[in-house]
Amino acid sequence: MRQGATARLRRDGIALAVVTVAYLAISTFVTNSYYQLILTLVPIWAVFGVSWNILSGYGGQLSFGHASFFGIGAYTVTLALVYWNLTPWLGIPLGMVAGAVAAVIIGTPTFRLRGHYFALSMLAYPLAILYFLQYFGFQELSLPMHRENPAAFLEFTDTRLYTVVAIGLLAAGVLACMLVENSRFGLALLAIRQNELAAEAAGINARQWKMRALTASGTIAAAAGGLYACVLLVVTPDSVFGLLVSAQPVVVTLFGGVASIWGPVIGAAVLVPLAESLNAQLGSILPGIQGVVYGGAIIVIILAAPDGLFWTIRDRWFRRALPPPPPALPAAPAPSRTYVTVSASVPLLQVTDLSRSFGGLRAVSRVSFTVAQGEILGIIGPNGAGKTTLFNVLNGVLSPDEGSAMLAGQPMLGRKVYQVCRMGVGRTFQVVRSFPRLPLLDNVVVGAYGVGLPDRDAVAAAEQALRRVGLLQLATRQAGQLTNKQLRLMELARALAGQPRLLLLDETLAGLGRDECEDVLDVLGKLRDEGMTIAIIEHTMHAMMRLADRFVVLDHGAVLATGLPRDVVEDRAVIEAYLGKKFLARQNA
């Protein structure tokens, strides 16, 4: 479980118990069967919203086609009952299995896509299924009645019992969501949503977590769909696979609050009764007016509360004071990863003839260099020299055209970003990639989870990393509130939390003032004293002169010079590349 999970789980658990009991109490007094139906539909759509929220809210992978899973659940239950006489009590679990399988089948190809492409491709699946079902003659299926033993077939004459089942399903769904949110699963999803590349560079296998999120989501959505079929007693392709069904979880969740356990519940509790009562009250007077009012309500609320009701209400009335920084524990025994030690004669990193082109541009051209254990290698060169591309190839963001790179005798290239991280390579970025909504500590814990540390060790490792860069007192602050220098150090700490043997730092000093530079340099110097091996890209010459043991100078993608700082800065070719021929000529004159 994540840091602070126990308190959150207890708080949300109590809230869940109160909501469940209160809801049941209210529903026992409702005798009108129409209102009872609304009371049953609220939790069903809320569960559907919860399922969507796991994938799209926490994980940020927008899906416009969640009706696929809802519909598969509904049709599995119905077909199993019609053809095998299988009770929905077993049909719903069967539907959940079908939903999970569908999620794997759909996710495997579709997660190759990102962003808008992913969102819109998801839209195509339920619609394709819909047309096929219509073609194969499943236009309208009724669930057969079982008069002898209705309860065994999830059929109740007292409609209040449907509400009890629905609220039970909701409680289970919310509980599942709570567990996701408070585990490394949730943290991985939040990190992926906020910055996928940073998450990968911190060792998170984004694709695997996204698949898990989709599978969990598909399972829960199928349960909601299965129960929906039982309540309505009739399914049509349009009513469970249609565009409006896909829109429903999106609307209730966005309305209630994205990436919050309670968002879908709040959204469904407000919108479902609103839509239904508008239908009942106004639909008969003037067909269409209910849609206009409903649409208007959605627009007005989203303009007033752009993040959804939950977050807006919480920010306005329940803004808690910053939680106090954690008590200064005596340096927790952070576990340390052990690596096979390299013999002094073998360099830790050996790059040989590495090349990478973009079209006709050779961004990195036959670059070779080594980094010895415990050394700080400065990589310098004018803008566009290929420094960042070099790092991108080394840590798996880009694939090389040719060449090799060995880390302690093991090939680094051809691996995925998160795999390179797990080999013991930490990376920071030229433009800071943080997870702005997460507290500083969680930002760093991501790095520790990434390399597979168990919960307790991960937190200890993160705290130790924060202590090493001097940010421990800010551990509870949201990353979005940090200064540029603090963000740079945070990124460094995130890399350190994975206990790397090699750090690739990309312009860690960029955009810092002189004093701030000094602070960061002190931290880096301390790391060197502790024996860390670092390759750092930097422009600021005086900083590099202080820090680096050795320089590699790149120009137009190729190595121009290597050697000790003093020799390199006097190299004519280097001066020419940096300051131009004219400068050289004038100096000689």
């Binding site: 896509l113 195509a124 699946y125 949503r193 565009l243 609307v251």
Partner: protein, 318 residues
Amino acid sequence: MDLEVLIENTLNVLAAGVTIGCIYGLMCIGLGLIFGIMRIVNFAQGELLMLGMYASLYLVTGGGVLAFLGPYVGPFVGALCAGPIVFAGGALLHKFLIARVSGLRTAGSIDDGHFGQLLVTLGISLILQNGGLIVFGSSPQTVRTPLASRAFELTGFYGDATVFLNKARLIACTVAIITAITLYLVLEYTRLGKALRAAADNPTAATYMGIDVDRAYRIAFALGCGITAVAGGLMATYLSFGPFIGLDYVIIMYSGVVLGGMGSILGAFWGGLTVGFVQQCSALVLPPQLQNAAIFVVFLLIVMLRPQGLFGRSAERA
């Protein structure tokens, strides 16, 4: 004899595919403008198509101002006139609703404001659909032109095989192509077009260059609405429609735009053409119920094979 029938059917389907595809292409350009320039997923685009149809209907039938043009020229002029009307509507929509959840206001926020945009456009879509039901009624309509039931007959391909080119569709297709080319030239060669492309590429940098990005977005959104409305007006000449027709076409539009590669106007046209073509051609081998399923299958296949779309490019910097 059988071969003759086969050839006749094939040629007819190809002809229908190209003519309808071109109109779809224009429709997709409208969405492609909004999507490509503003990165907004506009779920109300289908309703703008619907508004274009009704605008054209009211302009040219009954006591409409264009009724004097008669049933031959009227419907097509009406379709073109629907453009500016919906353009104005789109500008208002952007000013009062869309601008509040998009543009520089949300750039750089955690999801770039996508969630808010989704809900607002869904809301607009609901209002327009149901408002349309109240205002226009539910009975299906068409902008009647006698041309819809006449065809050019082309022979001489193979034996007695005859290709029928529906006149209404052929003219609609021609108007669509001309509109698309005009728009392309405007975007490519005028100051306005450059401003729009700059705003699409990097809104912040465009602002520094003195481009009023908010205005650029408003024009892009309104233009996108207007172009789709013109396509709607053209389709109204051969199609019967009601207030909920947008639902059927919004998916087709998105397929086309994604196929063409987001952000590419020309790509959107080709994407729409592909979708129309696939839809018509699938009639040769598939039962009618599966024609739309064919679109989605082809769509998924292409997107899987070329994730950046047929004509798009992908780039990300680390």
